[in-house]
């Protein structure tokens, strides 16, 4: 082992959470080394060139759940992060061209199309905002353990109870009722227009293996609003999500962290039952008393560490974590800006949603249950070049499409199915923009299988592990590793597989850093 004692902590993986964790650990005075397998930082939050001259955010394509306070704390603006667009509106597309556009504080279009729903939406958003304020602190703390005598756990649990109580009787009752509900039933109670129900249901199921009728979808919706504290803050970083990772990297370096790319970790080393460092694929060994893994739980425990260091029950739990992705990404290089009949050109800067009703999404989901891709998929579309011309050659455009449902395992395999699936997505888009397919000069499809391979995420799930109630807070990713520490002393987790999950939020990285600092003290 070379240069023992050179580092206090090694971070495995340079995704956004790894970078956030590195920055905070370095700021606390630790000598931090971050190792990234790829030749660039950012993990799945990167901008990539998918056709000559055309660049796009590879996985996540909007910034909306990273808390502004965290971005300020890390000085991301000073480190070069610029937003190309913020407070983007959403447009629920309709095949007949009668689209519904609604944005932060802008319900004018909805008011004329469905006045009852506009009032209901305002009321619903106000409720969500109140709930979000109460729940947001849950995301910024290490989840308490249950059943311990530690004052910290008990205080945290009481704190949760108290924050929910402080909502007042009415809101508290409503929250306790809807918390475990499916979004479909809730939307049926409150809204009438199918487009608005489709658009709201999309937010609840995006990135999950659930349909609008699956109980638990309210949790994913509440999670989303709690993260952004109820503010509708869809933003596009100038230069794509990769620009965010670059700013994070600069922030970490400024704090003194050393970041190495092209350095894949092969093994996490254990000596005398505690972490001793890591071994790179090249054979080089690096020593540190603390290793923080930004990799997903299965890769970390079953791959890098190895079950020989874990007890059988824990290993079984880890192998049972539901981590298969159901979301694909399609990138299109466009010769010209597409026309969506019924939609003004200015509206193309927003988020375009193909989710014409909650039932439409449920039907798309039905296929995923049987290892088929959706015949008529649900889409979240952005055309980032409308706000950020740097991403494509002059006059040309890029379309970035999140597609659901595309299960990790499809019958006949993705090698055979990627052609038919791409065609299906294009056909779906053509229902709203008939001339779009003719404008496509190149395309790239990332299935969960591709995401697994390219971004080293076991299962290709953008949250590393399905975000459902049974894999939430103190059970995320598994009991025994839910407080960022693991059964092996000195080994920690900081990725999206931990509380509070992914979505380019950065809180898992910061919470993990705090936990490491607290335990080292």
């Amino acid at each position: 082992m070379s240069a023992a004692g050179q580092y206090d902590a090694i971070i495995v993986g340079g995704g956004h959470n790894g970078l956030v964790c590195a920055a905070f650990l370095a700021r606390s005075g630790k000598r931090v080394l971050l190792l990234e397998a790829a030749d660039h930082l950012g993990g799945a939050a990167v901008t990539r060139e998918f056709a000559p001259g055309f660049r796009v955010s590879a996985c996540a394509h909007l910034l909306h759940v990273m808390p502004p306070a965290l971005m300020r704390e890390l000085g991301l603006e000073a480190h070069g992060l610029k937003l190309a667009a913020a407070s983007l509106p959403s447009v629920a597309l309709a095949e007949d061209g009668r689209h519904l556009s609604f944005g932060p504080g802008d319900l004018a279009a909805l008011t004329s199309a469905a006045p009852g729903d506009a009032a209901a939406l305002a009321d619903w958003q106000a409720f969500l905002k109140r709930v979000a304020r109460a729940l947001h602190p849950l995301l910024t703390e290490t989840p308490p353990r249950l059943g311990t005598d530690a004052w910290r756990d008990r205080a945290a649990l009481l704190g949760i109870g108290w924050r929910i109580r402080r909502l007042g009787r009415r809101d508290m009752r409503e929250l306790l009722r809807i918390g475990g509900m499916c979004v479909h039933d809730l939307l049926e109670e409150r809204f009438a227009h199918p487009l608005i129900k489709g658009a709201l249901a999309l937010d609840a199921v995006l990135g999950t293996n659930l349909g609008p009728r699956s109980p638990g979808t309210m949790v994913s919706l509440l999670y989303r609003v709690a993260a952004s504290q109820g503010a509708d803050v869809l933003a596009l970083p100038q230069g794509g999500l990769g620009a965010l990772s670059e700013a994070l990297a600069r922030s970490a370096r400024a704090a003194g962290a050393e970041l190495r790319t092209g350095a894949p970790v092969a093994r996490i080393l254990v000596r005398e039952d505690r972490v001793a460092g890591v071994a790179l694929a090249s054979g080089e060994e690096l020593a540190a008393p603390i290793v923080v893994s930004n990799a997903d739980p299965k890769t970390t425990f079953l791959g890098l560490l190895g079950p020989q260091h874990l007890d059988a029950g824990f290993t079984r739990r880890v192998s049972q974590v539901r981590s298969r992705g159901f979301t694909a990404k399609l990138h299109l290089a466009l010769e010209r800006l597409p026309q969506f009949p019924g939609l003004a050109e200015a509206a193309l800067r927003g988020r375009l949603l193909v989710a014409p009703s909650s039932d439409y999404i449920e039907r798309a989901y039905n296929h995923a249950k049987y290892n088929e891709f959706s015949e008529r998929p649900m889409l979240e579309v952005t055309i980032p070049t409308v706000s950020d011309a740097t991403l494509a050659p002059s006059g040309k455009h890029v379309m970035s499409v999140i597609v659901q449902y595309a299960p990790y395992t499809v019958k006949q395999g993705w090698a055979a199915q990627r052609g038919p699936f791409t065609a299906q997505v294009l056909a779906t888009l053509a229902r709203y923009a008939p001339e779009l397919p003719a404008a496509v000069s190149a395309s790239e499809l990332l299935t969960p299988e591709d995401i697994e391979r390219e971004f080293r995420i076991n299962g290709g799930h953008w949250h590393h592990a399905e975000l459902t109630l049974d894999q939430f807070m103190m059970t995320r990713p598994v009991p025994g590793a839910a407080q960022y520490q693991t059964p092996v002393p000195g080994l920690y987790l900081c990725g999206a597989g931990c509380h509070p999950g992914g979505g380019v939020m950065g809180l898992a990285g910061r919470n993990a850093a705090r936990q490491v600092i607290r335990e080292a003290a």
């Binding site: 353990r145 249950l146 059943g147 311990t148 109580r165 009787r169 508290m172 009752r173 409503e174 306790l176 009722r177 809807i178 918390g179 475990g180 509900m181 499916c182 039933d185 109670e189 659930l210 009728r213 699956s214 109980p215 638990g216 049972q320 539901r322 449920e362 039905n366 249950k369 049987y370 459902t468 109630l469 049974d470 939430f472 103190m474 059970t475 009991p479």
Partner: protein, 403 residues
């Protein structure tokens, strides 16, 4: 399962606390819940949390590999619900079907001699022996409220009966939307009752048989025919059956839970004949292509009979008569809204302190002197009797007769 049953059993015969209240009794009950949960110890607390929130399919996949075992066990997670085995929360429904006990055997199922009617007959006798009076053929049309107090009921014939306490065993929708005049109820409460989910999803076939049908897959003389028989062999089949329900049609390949109780209790049929009870999941209350008609009911019955006949070649020839019941029929005959067998779905938002309505989970209606004791209340249906017992305790406590 046994562990989860043991955890939940002591909670069934208790009034759910109102988590928003500071009343000593509610705080005491919350504390009881907390302590009861705490007693499990850390590892089992997480287990319990996961169990209550996960889907039955995910849970079974953690334990089993064989498709047929998973499909068989998933049955209890969907019976009477508007969920599929892949819906989170369905693992709890499975538990709901396992938490009974017979002669001390937790999770056991049994046949009542003479059928389920024998149980209600015995209950009625017990009630009468305690001094109660039962009047049949006396449909209540209206619950009388005067000055914010329940004062009695009006029967269909116009007869009025007066009492300071009125307890409704009807489901919460029938009680508050049809039997109490809306002006006596807070509008917000009425709105919540409207939202209460009570969608029917089950059908029933009662089939009179000329003899015992033969199932080639079951060895001759096997005791297997005496218990529950299912013909579903993959989870996918169960899930697809649910997809049909979502689209407003009965399952093309339904989940069938069939029993031939006459093998054990011959008192139910003439000599040598048999009776088959077939529980069918899923069958919607509302069809996508319009109202139920006698023709559609027959088509539904044929779907079920054909499915069974695929596993029993002589089944069809033995049928003497088949009574087919859709959720609509169950509503009409038994009075259960939408034919929902649990008087309300067993989902998170309708359990414990949310059942039936948040803030009204303690058996008391928003009208003084009026109570609820049906399966719409905690802990729900399944011929358990617990809601009735809990409700009686609440009433006696209010009357100052229970210490």
């Amino acid at each position: 399962m046994l562990r989860h049953c043991r955890f939940i059993k002591p909670l069934l015969l208790r009034e759910p606390p109102d988590p928003t209240s500071f009343r000593p009794r509610d705080l005491q009950e919350l504390l009881f819940l907390g302590k009861h949960f705490h007693k499990l110890g850390e590892a089992r607390m997480y287990d319990t949390m996961r169990f209550f929130t996960m889907s039955c399919a995910d849970m079974l996949e953690e334990y089993f590999e064989s498709e047929i075992v998973k499909a068989h066990l998933s049955g209890s997670s969907i019976i009477g619900t508007a969920l599929g085995p892949r819906s989170p929360g369905s693992a709890y429904v499975l538990l709901h079907h396992y938490m009974g006990s017979i002669d001390g055997a937790v999770g056991a199922w049994g046949f009542a001699r003479g059928g389920m009617g024998a149980i209600t007959q015995a209950l009625a006798k017990s009630f009468q022996a305690s001094g109660g009076t039962v009047r049949a053929s006396a449909p209540v049309e209206q619950i009388l409220v005067r000055g914010g107090r329940a004062t009695g009921v009006v029967l269909a014939g116009g007869e009025e009966l007066h009492a300071p306490v009125v307890v409704s065993n009807m489901d919460v929708k029938r009680t508050f939307l049809e039997t109490v005049a809306p002006e006596h109820l807070p509008p917000e409460f009425v709105e919540q009752v409207r939202r209460f989910k009570i969608r029917g999803s089950s059908g029933k076939l009662n089939i009179a048989l000329d003899g015992l049908p033969h199932f080639p897959a079951i060895p001759q003389g096997s005791p297997s025919t005496r218990g529950d028989m299912h013909i579903t062999d993959t989870l996918e089949m169960v899930e697809r059956a649910y997809d049909d329900w979502k689209e407003g049609r009965w399952s093309r390949e339904p989940y069938v839970d069939m029993l031939i109780p006459t093998q054990i209790d011959p008192t139910m049929t003439p000599d040598g004949k048999h009776y088959m009870s077939v529980f069918v999941q899923y069958c919607p209350y509302k069809l996508a292509d319009g109202e139920w008609t006698p023709e559609k009911r027959q088509a539904f019955g044929n779907t079920v009979i054909d499915a069974i006949a695929r596993h029993s070649p002589d089944f069809k020839s033995l049928i003497l008569h088949a009574e087919i019941r859709t959720p609509k029929d169950i509503e009409n005959e038994v009075g259960l809204t939408e034919g929902n067998i649990f008087q309300g779905e067993l989902t998170f938002d309708q359990l414990l302190f949310n059942r039936p309505i948040p803030g009204y989970a303690q058996y008391r209606a928003p009208v003084r002197g009026m109570y609820m004791c049906g399966s719409s209340t905690h802990p729900g249906g399944g011929v358990m009797g617990a809601p009735g017992a809990n409700s009686a305790n609440a009433i006696l406590r209010d009357l100052g007769r229970l210490q």
